[in-house]
Subunit: 248 residues, 2 copies
């Protein structure tokens, strides 16, 4: 039976500082826990109240049963759900060749967790080889990012590294693409098996150090009056055009 200190520890994981110290993160809710279990994500611990439906289907590890009052003490939300799962924070080091091969989505200072989650989902849909986050992006292990990724969190390889030094070392054969209002029409992109697609924050765009590493600016043609598209939509359209060019 979980002690008060155990429940306190679970609740403390809503702060990044405590997640980093303990090397653990939490997700809550039938939907997200179900998505990650379906994606074969290996949780360390699952806590559930007796009404968690998936508990009957042999979730692994077997859930530790909490009373609703205990769940309320552990939960990060005012309205706790029937399940809370704990995962280990694993950080995959970039291979030595960095992002030279395959398709990479690099996020520069995307601080909105919903946007980071959406971008993981896009990377997953388009089977990109990896996502690289600059250290000032929203924390990958926050609940909002994982929820917004709709399970893609468990399928996409993500690295967190300073972007400018990484991009500065990309060989010339691998274009580093940045979206801008002036650039190559994305509809005319040549097939690319290796490329880095860099997306900045919607409000501030690319940082100047990262912008200096872009080797090809691309533009999504605009036909009407909107000033911009959001980060997720811009990334999806670039990916759609790259995949269309390169074939499956």
């Amino acid at each position: 039976m979980p002690t008060k200190a155990d429940l306190q520890r679970l609740r403390s994981l809503r702060d990044k500082k405590h997640r980093e110290t303990l090397g653990l993160f939490v997700v809550e809710g039938e939907k997200v826990v179900g998505e990650l279990l379906a994606a074969k994500f290996a949780f360390e611990e699952i806590y559930a109240t007796p009404d968690w439906p998936a508990g009957r289907e042999g979730a692994k590890p077997a859930p530790i049963i909490l009373t609703p009052a205990e769940m309320a003490r552990a939960s990060h939300y005012p309205t706790p759900s029937s399940v809370l799962a704990v995962g280990k924070i694993r950080r995959t080091p970039l291979p030595d060749r960095g992002v030279a091969r395959g398709l990479t989505l690099a996020l520069d200072g995307v601080q909105d967790p919903g946007n980071v989650g959406t971008l993981l989902r896009i990377a997953d849909w388009y089977a990109l080889d990896r996502v690289v986050l600059s250290p000032d992006c929203a924390d990958l292990f926050s609940q909002k990012v994982i929820n917004a990724s709709m399970g893609s969190f468990a399928r996409v390889t993500v690295h967190t590294v300073p972007l400018a030094p990484l991009l500065a070392g990309v060989p010339a054969a691998t274009p580093v693409l940045g979206c801008d209002l002036i650039g190559t029409d994305v509809h005319t992109l040549s097939p690319l098996k290796d490329a880095v697609i860099v997306i900045g924050s919607e409000g501030r765009g690319l940082s100047s150090a990262v912008k200096a590493c872009i080797t090809q600016f691309v533009t999504i043609p605009r036909y009407g009056g909107a000033e911009s598209l959001n980060a997720g939509i811009a990334a999806a359209i670039v990916c759609d055009n790259l995949r269309r060019s390169a074939g499956p």
Copy 2:
């Protein structure tokens, strides 16, 4: 000087019921008011505290100056901003030929106001001729929809009508496109000058009455593991491919 009743009336406009009764809506904040003024939206009234920067640039109509305490009484938010503007609700009737000509984005039960706003922005970027909302979509005149549209609210023609009867009357020469997991690859779409793109809610998809009116299902090719794309991204990719085919 505004009376207590005036301020109370402004605050009451956060409810759709009162908006409909008075035929008025409210937007608040320097960003959204600035976007709509830049798009030449004709407000009925503007209320501002003395620190509203745009007040000095000759906004029309001239702002009525409120004290911060008065603004707090009028505002829909716990933290009021420096400006609140009132617009008239105008509903544009559909022309007799309905959606037979040009490109139409039709939203079927999209209840999330952020999604509706994002979809208006996409319709604006791709210069669609109109957006049609089913009556159970998020209210066009809610602040969340207008904020998320980033000014596109003022540029896009929007009609609210029951979708199934409208779509049932579309002539055969105008395809009614629906996104589905099985359908024509969106990359192979022929050029279309006239088409209706129907987007459902992310959770529930298309209603069965609307689904029965789809004449061509289109699929966005998936290369990886994500189960779906969100409504805004799906719409943007269909529009990008249609515009690419049709040319500017």
